[in-house]
Symmetry: C2
Subunit: 281 residues, 2 copies
């Protein structure tokens, strides 16, 4: 039960099955040959420069209780829109029950950790707050990350998901980033914290907080399919940001608001320390 | 079963219940008094200028088969992070089964249309492609939108969700936007298509394609809670975009790639026309 897409266009593959009362199972098994545009229009796109139209990437995105949904759904849009890629939503739970995010929005996994493919193109985890700390303390989850990372082409995270990579020993000596509230805590895992939007060190790619997942994913699409393909998906997502208020980083936010938000997050590094202490030596 | 949040910080409220094996139900009912930061640090934020800390907004976000998950999850992050707001995920299905998005990622609704509160602060729908057309043809879905819009403080959409608003007769004579592939089709509903990121006309607020949901939601948060609050949430989302490839709109994308993408989406307006023809006069 994967979301393999053979079309560039988001989800058109499921068109035939998308009657309002359809069952989830039916959607997952939908005819992938249904799509908008002709075969010719799809093949024509493949003639653009620096653009590999088809691929067979295998992506695993970790779901754990308390994850931040936007950390995952941003990259999912881009990964699942790559024609031919297969995206698995991997629960660290015992069964395929929906996994509730930190804000209550629950997403259905497609596979358990045990059933997740062994060899991955992309291993991904998003972040969260208490939920991420709980995942760090869960031996089975960390064992899963260690195992799949050993063979994955790319080992990746967005937001405080990098703390999970750190807990799994995957960031030793590596440059990495995280949500601003957790970035310096990366040094607890012998990582080198870097204040950049997307940080690449070897095959480890980490994104900054929450919304950085969009930039992170486009960078990874460009690495896998070429900058032309990433530009096509950027256009599909109409990603031409115009935030209506200033800020976005502690450095660019109104100092009074930034200080108050930093004060609110101040307990977080100590919470990370406590979770980190539970890892095996 | 709502995702009421009394804390600014995404999901910290659910901390106590977020053990890996927890049930969804438990997460939904989690103790909202658990949070990062002290009560004092939260109250301190309320002293910042142009920032209303607490509120009691009631938000309804429509889920239908084939919706684009990122259209909804972007705004959900910001709406659900407003302290005191209640966000309902409203399925147009018969029960609370997970609703599959166009790319296969399925989200659990929290309420059916019948059980959705009558009086809303924000009525929201995201877009999609075939799934959106199917929703436009579904009488019960359109009836629901008409009814709730009549009393909602804000009637809103992201991406091709504006086609659903149009089908419900909510855009007559209104300036509105949509995904670039569907924007001109808004004229079929007597709307005035506008090529802007976020368009406000009276109490109708529409966002452009997919990723525009982040800008759209921040604009709405600013309207409800002040620009200071929006700035705080922008910082929480670390929304300081740095797309790694050019483009994002047809006008700014490499012309060859833009042309090929536009060709691929070329059949869409005719599909909208066919769906629009099913509406009651």
């Amino acid at each position: 039960m994967t979301s393999t897409r053979r079309t560039l266009l988001a989800g058109i593959g499921a068109a035939a099955a998308l009657a309002p009362m359809m069952a989830l199972q039916r959607a997952m098994a939908a005819d992938p040959n249904e799509r908008i545009g002709t075969q010719e229009s799809h093949d024509a796109l493949g003639t653009a420069p620096d653009l590999q139209m088809y691929g067979s990437e295998v992506v695993a995105m970790l779901l754990y209780p308390g994850f931040t949904a936007l950390d995952l759904v941003g990259p999912h849009f881009f990964f699942a829109s790559m024609m031919g890629a297969t995206v698995h939503l991997v629960t660290n739970g015992a069964d395929l029950s929906p996994v509730a995010s930190d804000l209550g929005l629950a997403i259905s996994p497609t596979v358990t950790m045990a059933d997740c493919p062994k060899d991955l193109t992309i291993l991904f985890t998003g972040g969260g707050l208490q939920g991420t700390l709980n995942a760090m303390k869960d031996t089975a989850t960390i064992d899963f990350m260690v195992d799949r990372a050993a063979r994955a082409k790319y080992v990746t995270s967005v937001c405080t998901g990098s703390l999970i990579l750190g807990q799994a020993g995957l960031l030793k000596g590596k440059r990495a980033t995280s949500h601003w509230a957790g970035r310096e805590a990366l040094s607890m895992f012998d990582a080198i914290p870097v204040n950049e939007r997307v940080v690449t060190d070897g095959n480890v790619i980490t994104g900054a907080g929450v919304s950085a997942g969009l930039d992170f994913a486009l960078a990874l699409v460009a690495a896998l399919r070429g900058a032309g393909y990433a530009q096509a998906l950027r256009l599909q997502a109409e990603y031409a940001p115009e935030p209506p208020v200033p800020g976005g980083t502690p450095e660019t936010t109104d100092p009074q608001i930034a200080k108050l938000m930093q004060d609110m997050f101040a307990p977080f590094p100590a919470m990370v320390q406590e979770a980190a202490a539970t890892r095996r030596l």
